[in-house]
Symmetry: C2
Subunit: 121 residues, 2 copies
C-alpha cells in the first residue's frame, strides 16, 4: 500500500490537531481550507466548498497569518481574469508537513484504531 493509498483510506480515521508554540493551531479545518484555496484559487470558492462563510474562512486564514507573522495565502486583484488567491511558500509547507504527519500517524496508530473500532462494535 503506497503512502497515497493510506492517505486516502485512513485520512478520515485520524486527523491531527497540532499546536505550534503558544498561539498557532493547525487543525483539519484550516488545512482543508488551505488545500481548497490552492485548488480553487479563491478564498470564497474554498469557503463555499467547505460550507463556511467567507468571513469565517478569512478569520481562519488570518489566525495563521498572525500566528506565523507572515501570510499563508496571497491574494491578487485586477489583471486578466480578475483576482486570485494562492498559497504562499509557507502555506504550502504547512499543508505538506501536516499531510506527512497525518499519513504517518494513521499507519502508526493502527493497533489502537482497531481497538477503538472494536469498541464501536
Amino acid at each position: 500500500m503506497t503512502e497515497r493509498d493510506l492517505r486516502t483510506a485512513e485520512a478520515t480515521m485520524l486527523r491531527p490537531r497540532v499546536r505550534i508554540g503558544e498561539t498557532i493551531t493547525l487543525d483539519p479545518g484550516k488545512i482543508d481550507l488551505l488545500k481548497h484555496v490552492e485548488s480553487t484559487r479563491s478564498i470564497s470558492a474554498a469557503a463555499r466548498a467547505l460550507g463556511m462563510s467567507y468571513k469565517h474562512a478569512w478569520l481562519l486564514i488570518d489566525s495563521l497569518n498572525q500566528g506565523f507573522g507572515r501570510p499563508v495565502v496571497t491574494t491578487a486583484t485586477g489583471g486578466k481574469g480578475g483576482g486570485g488567491a494562492a498559497l504562499t511558500e509557507l502555506g504550502r509547507q504547512l499543508v505538506e508537513h501536516y499531510g506527512a504527519i497525518e499519513a504517518r500517524l494513521n499507519v502508526n496508530a493502527q493497533t489502537e484504531l482497531q481497538a477503538l473500532r472494536r469498541l464501536a462494535g
Copy 2:
C-alpha cells in the same frame, strides 16, 4: 524520557481527532470532558472546569452514547452525597486508547513537529 514525561511535555503539541466508522468522532474536547467527569464525578463541574455549558457538555457525551449505542457516562441520583457521575467501562477504555494514541503520535511525529516549529521561527 518515559511515556508519562512525553505525555506531559508533548500532549499540547499534537492531539488526534479520531473518526470511528461513520458516526463517531473522538476529539480532544470530548476526551478532556470525559477525564474531568472522572475526576470531578460531576458533568456540571466538568463543564464548568472546561468553560462550557452543561447543555454543551451533555450533547458531547450524548453524541458518544448514541454513536456507540451504549453509555460512556453513568449518573446516579440520590443516596449519600447526592448524585454522582462516573465513566463506564467503555468511557474509561476510550480515554485510555486515546491517551495511548496521543502519546505515541507525539513521539513518532517529532521530525515533522520540529519542522513546523521552525516555520514559526
